[in-house]
């Protein structure tokens, strides 16, 4: 029998962790998704259609005729916002899947407590969530891409890279929301606050609908730390063919770093929540 008087080691730090656990959690979440996959995919096609018609064509007809249209860099408004719409949709999906649905598995259905009673560890539960959200993002971004293709605003072959750009943006934000969900004790409306005061302003002021050169210099630094802005720049560069190696790597590196930091944090907080 082993003696331990000041235990800092946690049960989940066992060396014999079977790595399949995260795949099993992923499999479970996919099975849950199956129940609402059809509506969620229909939404993934319907939403871009509405936005493209209303903003791209409707509003765009005014913008393109206006005196300032050169600020868009010589492309139509529809072309300008198309990649940003894809990335914004990915952000939306990442943040919403990472919030209440994941949180409910701690709080209401308590499903995660059942999962970690098995050989699956809290870190693997977190990984499973990330894999699942990544899968959701892949499906939604691909459908969005196809709709843009239909409208003729998906660019050349490099435009396909909008899909990973959107996924990276969505997942980098999703891990932060997963981390938040792991520390919330009561619902408390914390997610609603994040949606209202972070996600919505980010969507409006990250160079999605107008170039950030239109913003006063004093607030532009806020845009530079916005993951959505990096995602937009990345996607737009691929579609419009304006991507430069340096800035592309920079934007991708920012998002990747955010993702890795968020994942490390989320895994740690999952462990702290589930092993008490």
């Amino acid at each position: 029998m082993a003696t331990l008087d000041h235990s800092h080691t946690r049960p989940s730090s066992s060396p014999s962790v079977p790595s399949g656990g995260r795949l099993m959690v992923w499999e479970y979440l996919l099975r849950c998704w199956r129940r609402y996959a059809i509506p969620s995919l229909a939404e993934a096609i319907g939403t871009p259609l509405l936005y493209l018609l209303a903003l791209g064509l409707g509003l765009g007809s005014l913008v393109d005729a206006g005196p300032q249209s050169a600020a868009l860099g010589g492309v139509s408004y529809l072309q300008y916002i198309a990649p940003a719409l894809l990335v914004a949709a990915a952000l939306q999906i990442g943040v919403s899947e990472g919030s209440y649905p994941a949180y409910s598995r701690f709080k209401w259905s308590r499903v995660f407590w059942g999962v970690t009673a098995t050989p699956v560890t809290p870190g693997q539960v977190c990984d499973g969530e990330v894999l699942f959200i990544g899968t959701r993002l892949l499906a939604a971004s691909t459908l969005y891409y196809l709709v843009l293709l239909m409208f003729g605003v998906a660019g050349g072959p490099a435009g396909l890279l909008m899909i990973p750009s959107g996924m990276l943006t969505g997942i980098a934000c999703a891990v932060l929301i997963l981390a938040l969900g792991a520390v919330l004790q009561s619902d408390g409306g914390a997610f609603a606050m994040v949606f209202r005061f972070v996600v919505v302003p980010m969507t409006l002021f990250s160079g999605s609908f107008f170039p950030i050169t239109q913003l006063p210099l004093a607030v532009r630094w806020l845009v530079w730390i916005s993951p959505l802005w990096h995602g937009n720049e990345l996607a737009r560069g691929f579609v419009l063919g304006t991507a430069e190696p340096c800035s592309t790597i920079g934007h991708a590196a920012f998002l990747a770093a955010l993702f890795v930091a968020g994942l490390v944090l989320a895994r740690r907080l999952y462990r702290r929540r589930l092993i008490v």
């Binding site: 029998m1 049960p11 308590r110 098995t118 050989p119």
Partner: protein, 347 residues
Amino acid sequence: MRERRAPRRIGDDPSVTRSADAMPHPAGANGEPEKAAPMIAARRLCKTFPTASGRPVEAVRGIDVQVERGESFGFLGPNGAGKSSTMRMIACVSARTGGELSILGMDPDLDGVRIRGRLGVVPQQDNLDVELTVRENLIIYGRYFGISRSECRRRAQELVEFAQLTDKADTKVDVLSGGMKRRLTIARSLINDPELLLLDEPTTGLDPQARHVLWDRLFRLKNEGVTLVVTTHYMDEAEQLCDRLVVMDGGVIVAEGSPKALIGAYSSREVLELRFLPGTQQQAEPLVTDLVERVEVLPDRLLLYTEDGEATLEAAHSRGVRPRSTLVRRSTLEDVFLRLTGRSLVD
């Protein structure tokens, strides 16, 4: 006067120390090295939780427990006694903060994953996925143990039958009754064919009929040789299910033995309950104190511990005691708990 005694360990009384025949077939037949080790061995096991206020909460304060293969073992005590904290440490989802603990011969801090692979856990609160069907819940759970899909499906069918949910197998869990959900949770905990089944308050919140159905299922498991560890604050549950149990209070073990031995050691054969209008029982107390060795005063009744309840009742009547109603019953673990802690179990 209400009798109060300092809790004492059952070890003080040689008549109720654990006897070897309380542990059926300690060693397994197929010669695995761990079989010789006890299923659970804890020595001076402690769990302390830090709190925001800075004063840590000592949930478990140095308990010694040993459970052998095939035994049915119970932790009995009121809410907050430390039962669930102990169970979480045994289930390897909570690190101990002191003492020694070995589960299936392994250290939970080092081999938590391997140990959990061989446990079945029925948590206090169900954590089924209510959006999925009964069958899906079972299959998914099996997958977490690395069991193949086809094998999961086969076992799910068996367990659906075991849980008497055959006609609900493809129903969403959402619409099941509390008792059915509980049976499903128990069935789910068996998907990996566990050697040790941990049940944290398995029947709390169920109606009497649902409890009996559940106990019947647990008896079957017990007869098949599954080692059961149960926490409960129900005396009847402990008496129904446990070969041996410990009574916990305030994070320590205050007594240990078989239900029968505990009743023998800490109570009389029968109990006479004299029920009064609340508050009037004190007036009757002086009239009956010398009739029996021990009297407990509860808010609405007097409990007289006696070898012959009817005779004591007659004697009380002849002294002019006029209770609203009376009851002669056998001693239960509730009486043991009252004796050990001076408190009743369910407040």
